[in-house]
C-alpha cells in the first residue's frame, strides 16, 4: 500500500476527529448496550417470570407474544434512528475531516 502517506497521529489528534470519535462511541456503545439488555430480557423473563408472559392482553394474545414481537420493532427502530443520525451527523463530520486532509 504505497499510497500517499498520511500522518495518522495528527489526524487522530485533530479536534474534529476527536469530536467525531466521541460522538460515535457514545452513540454506538449506548445503543448496543440498550439493545443487548432489551434482548436478554426475553429469555430471562420467559424463564424467571413466566407468570408475566402469560398475562392475556388482547383476547388470547398474551404479553409474551407482544414482547417478542416488540423486539423486532425495537431493533428496526434502533436501525432507523442510527441511519438517521449517521447520515446527518457522522457522515457530515467525516466529510469535513476528509476534505481537510485531502
Amino acid at each position: 500500500m504505497a499510497d500517499k502517506q498520511y500522518d495518522w497521529g495528527a489526524i487522530a489528534k485533530n479536534p474534529k476527529f476527536v469530536e467525531l470519535h466521541r460522538k460515535k462511541t457514545t452513540f454506538l456503545v449506548g445503543w448496543w448496550v440498550f439493545s443487548a439488555v432489551f434482548y436478554f430480557l426475553l429469555p430471562i423473563g420467559a424463564a424467571f417470570a413466566p407468570g408475566l408472559f402469560k398475562i392475556k392482553i388482547l383476547g388470547r394474545i398474551n404479553f409474551g407474544y407482544l414482547f417478542a414481537l416488540s423486539q423486532f420493532f425495537v431493533s428496526w427502530g434502533i436501525a432507523i434512528y442510527y441511519a438517521h443520525v449517521a447520515n446527518k451527523d457522522f457522515d457530515r463530520l467525516t466529510r469535513e475531516l476528509v476534505d481537510e486532509f485531502k
Binding site: 448496543w32 434482548y39 426475553l42 394474545i61 467525516t94
Partner: protein, 656 residues
C-alpha cells in the same frame, strides 16, 4: 503446492467429523429434549381448584399420510427454471470476474440495497425457514422466541462491525486482523478459524440439503448432495462473488414471496383477524391434545387447565434458561464474527452502503421471522401437530405441508404448484447459503494462506484468481465428500458450534483489533486459539454428543415397559414388537459404550457453550496481548482507527 492446499482443506474439513459422531436422529428433533413436566407446576396460577370444566374432548387427530411428495410434473419445470436463471447469472458474471477483487468482492460494485438482499439470502438458511416454522408448529411460543435472536444479532453487526470492517478491510477477516500485527502468523491462525466455522456450517447445510431433496423429490441422498455440490461449485468457481450475490438475491426474493403468499392464505382462513387467529390456535382440539399428551405428558387432562393457551406461553421446548441465554449470546455476538457475513461488507463501495445493506437486511429478516409465526401456527391449526410430526419428527416439513394443504384447498393443482415452489425455494436457499460459505472458506485459504503467507503477497491478478478458483473447487469437492460421509450423522448442533466458534474466537479479536490501542499479535493468536478450542471442547463434553450409556438406559426403559405389558397378557401391536426388538438391540449395542471422549455422561448441562467460551475468548485475547506488548501495534492504532472511522485511504487500498 495445489495438492498441499487440497490436503490442508481436507484435513481441516475432516475435523468436523469429530462433531458429527452421533447416530442419525431426526435432525433438530426437539422431541428428544422434552422432559416430563406436570402442568400443575408449570402454571399453578391457572389451576383453580374450583374449576371443574373438563377440557373439550379432543377430536381424534386425522390420520394423515406420513410422507410428503411433490408432483414431479410441476416441480421439475420450476427447478429447471431456477437452475436456468442462475446459470445465466453465472455466465454473465464469469465475464466480469477478472481480478481477485472481482472474484472475492464483485469489485466492490454491489449497491447497499442489493447487498442487503444478499445478506438476507445468505443468512436465512433452510434451517431457519423450515426449522423455525416447524418448531412453532410443534412447540408454539418457544419457536417464535427462538427466532428473535437471529434478528437482534444484526444490531451488533450494524453498530459495531459493518462500517469499520468496510473501511479497514479488503477481502477477508484476515485482512482486518493482520493490519497492525504480524501478518503471516495472524493470517494463518485466522484462516484455520474461518475454515473451521465454514466447515461446521457447510456440513450442516449439505446434510440438510441431501435429506430434504430425498424427502421431497425422492432423489437418493448421494445424488442430491452431488447435484447441489456441482451447482454450488459452478456458481463460485466461475461466477465468484458476483454470481454468489445474485443467487442470494434471487433466493431471498423467492423466499419472501413464498412466505408472504402462504401467510396471506393462513390469514384468509382466519378471516384476516388476528384475534380470531389466536383463538383458533388456543381452541384447536388437536393442539390441546398435543400439548397435553405429547409435550406436557399428562396422561389425564388436569381439570380446568387451558392446554390450548399453554401453546402460546413459553417453556414447552426451551427448558434450561442458562442454555437459552448462552444461545442468545452466541447468536448476538457470533453473527458479527461469521466470515461469510463479514465478507459481504467488502462488496459495497462505501461505509454508507455497508450501513444501508445491514438495515435493508434487518427489515427483510425481521419481516420474514414475523411471517414464520403465521406459518408455524397456521400449520398447527390446519395440519395438526400430530400430522406434522408424523411426517418429520422435528417438524421440518410443516411449511411444505402447509403449502400443499392451503393451495390444495383452492385447487389440487395450486397445492402442487405451491409445494413445488416452496421446494424450489428450499433448494435455492441451500445453494445460496453453501455458495457463500464456500466462497468465505476459499478466500481464507487462497487469499490469506496462499497469496499472503506462502507467496508473501507477490502474486499477480491472474495467479490470484486461479488460486481462488482452484481452492473453491477443492473446498466444494470437500463439501460434497463430507456431505456424503455425514449422511447418518446428527449435524444439527454443528450450526450451534459454528456460532459458538464465531462468537468466542472471531468476535473478540475483531472488536479488539478495531477498538483497543494495545491489541497485538499475541492477543489475536491467543484469543482465536483459546476461543475456538474452548467452544469445540465444551461441545465435545456437552449433551450434544452421544452417550451410549444414556442410550442404553433409555432403551432399557422401553424394554421394561413393553415386557411388563406383555407379562400382563396383553398382545403387543406389530409396531410395539418392532420397538421392542429395536430397543433390545440398542441396549446390547450401547450398554458398554462411551462417548467419543470416553465419558459416561456429559460434563456440562449446556448445549450451547457461549456463556463460558465467549468470556474465555475475551480474557485470553486480553491476557495474551498484555503479556506480550508490542509497540508497533500500538503506534499503528491511530492509523486503523482513523481509517475505520473515515475511510481515508480505502479507495487506494482496494484498487491496486
Amino acid at each position: 503446492m495445489k495438492k498441499l492446499l487440497a490436503g490442508i482443506t481436507l484435513a481441516l474439513s475432516l475435523g468436523s467429523f469429530a462433531f458429527a459422531e452421533e447416530p442419525a436422529k431426526a435432525p433438530a428433533a426437539p422431541g428428544a429434549a422434552v422432559t416430563a413436566q406436570t402442568a400443575a407446576t408449570a402454571a399453578p396460577a391457572d389451576v383453580t381448584g374450583a374449576a371443574k370444566v373438563a377440557t373439550p374432548a379432543p377430536a381424534p387427530a386425522e390420520e394423515s399420510k406420513t410422507t410428503i411428495k411433490a408432483n414431479p410434473m410441476v416441480t421439475i419445470p420450476i427447478f429447471l427454471a431456477i437452475i436456468g436463471v442462475t446459470m445465466c447469472v453465472v455466465v454473465w458474471s464469469a465475464k466480469r470476474t477478472k481480478s481477485a477483487a472481482d472474484f472475492y468482492t464483485a469489485g466492490g460494485g454491489i449497491t447497499g440495497t442489493q447487498n442487503g438482499w444478499a445478506i438476507a439470502g445468505d443468512y436465512m438458511s433452510a434451517a431457519s425457514f423450515l426449522g423455525i416454522s416447524g418448531m412453532i408448529s410443534l412447540y408454539g411460543y418457544d419457536g417464535f422466541m427462538y427466532s428473535v435472536g437471529w434478528l437482534v444479532a444484526y444490531i451488533t453487526v450494524l453498530l459495531i462491525v459493518a462500517e469499520p470492517c468496510r473501511n479497514a478491510g479488503k477481502f477477508t477477516l484476515g485482512d482486518i486482523l493482520s493490519f497492525r500485527t504480524e501478518p503471516k502468523i495472524v493470517r494463518a491462525v485466522c484462516a484455520i478459524s474461518v475454515v473451521a466455522v465454514s466447515t461446521f456450517y457447510l456440513t450442516a447445510q449439505m446434510v440438510g440439503a441431501g435429506k430434504l431433496m430425498q424427502l421431497l423429490l425422492g432423489i437418493p441422498y448421494k445424488f442430491a448432495i452431488v447435484g447441489v455440490g456441482i451447482l454450488m461449485v459452478g456458481y463460485v468457481v466461475f461466477g465468484g462473488m458476483t454470481a454468489t450475490t445474485w443467487v442470494q438475491i434471487i433466493k431471498a426474493g423467492l423466499l419472501m414471496t413464498g412466505a408472504a403468499v402462504l401467510s396471506v392464505l393462513v390469514g384468509i382462513k382466519a378471516g384476516m383477524n388476528p384475534f380470531q387467529f389466536f383463538n383458533d390456535i388456543a381452541t384447536n382440539p388437536n393442539i390441546i391434545e398435543h400439548v397435553q399428551k405429547t409435550v406436557l405428558k399428562d396422561p389425564v387432562a388436569v381439570a380446568g387447565f387451558d392446554y390450548g393457551q399453554r401453546f402460546l406461553e413459553p417453556g414447552l421446548f426451551m427448558k434450561n434458561p442458562l442454555d437459552q441465554i448462552s444461545l442468545g449470546m452466541a447468536l448476538v455476538l457470533g453473527t458479527a464474527g461469521m466470515p461469510h457475513i463479514l465478507m459481504r461488507f467488502f462488496t459495497v463501495p462505501t461505509a454508507q452502503a455497508a450501513r444501508k445493506s445491514v438495515i435493508v437486511a434487518m427489515f427483510i429478516i425481521g419481516f420474514f421471522y414475523i411471517l414464520t409465526t403465521l406459518l408455524g401456527f397456521g400449520a398447527a391449526i390446519h395440519l395438526t401437530p400430530q400430522g406434522i410430526s408424523a411426517v418429520d419428527k422435528g417438524g421440518n416439513m410443516a411449511a411444505m405441508m402447509l403449502a400443499q394443504k392451503l393451495g390444495g384447498d383452492i385447487s389440487p393443482f395450486l397445492g402442487d404448484l405451491l409445494l413445488a415452489f416452496l421446494c424450489a425455494v428450499a433448494f435455492a436457499t441451500i445453494l445460496a447459503v453453501v455458495s457463500g460459505l464456500v466462497l468465505a472458506a476459499s478466500a481464507a485459504i487462497a487469499h490469506d494462506i496462499y497469496v499472503n503467507v506462502i507467496k508473501d503477497g507477490h502474486a499477480d491478478q491472474h495467479e490470484q484468481v486461479m488460486a481462488a478458483r482452484i481452492t473453491s473447487l477443492c473446498v466444494g469437492a470437500a463439501g460434497i465428500l463430507i456431505g456424503i460421509a455425514a449422511e447418518k450423522q446428527n449435524v444439527a448442533h454443528l450450526v450451534a458450534l459454528a456460532f459458538a466458534v464465531a462468537s468466542s474466537g472471531n468476535l473478540p479479536v475483531i472488536v479488539m483489533s478495531l477498538f483497543w490501542r494495545k491489541f497485538n499479535t499475541a492477543g489475536v493468536v491467543s484469543g482465536l486459539v483459546v476461543g475456538t478450542i474452548a467452544s469445540i471442547a465444551l461441545v465435545m463434553v456437552s449433551p450434544n454428543m452421544t452417550y451410549p450409556k444414556k442410550v442404553a438406559e433409555d432403551a432399557q426403559k422401553v424394554v421394561v415397559k413393553l415386557e411388563e405389558k406383555q407379562a400382563t397378557g396383553a398382545m403387543l401391536t406389530a409396531k410395539e414388537m418392532k420397538d421392542l426388538d429395536k430397543a433390545k438391540a440398542d441396549y446390547a449395542k450401547n450398554k458398554d459404550g462411551k462417548s467419543m471422549l470416553g465419558l459416561d455422561k456429559p460434563l456440562i448441562t449446556l448445549k450451547n457453550p457461549g456463556i463460558i467460551s465467549i468470556p474465555l475468548g475475551f480474557i485470553a485475547a486480553i491476557v495474551g496481548c498484555l503479556a506480550f506488548p508490542s509497540r508497533r501495534s500500538e503506534e499503528m492504532f491511530d492509523e486503523i482507527y482513523v481509517r475505520q472511522n473515515t475511510g481515508i485511504g480505502i479507495a487506494k487500498a482496494v484498487d491496486h
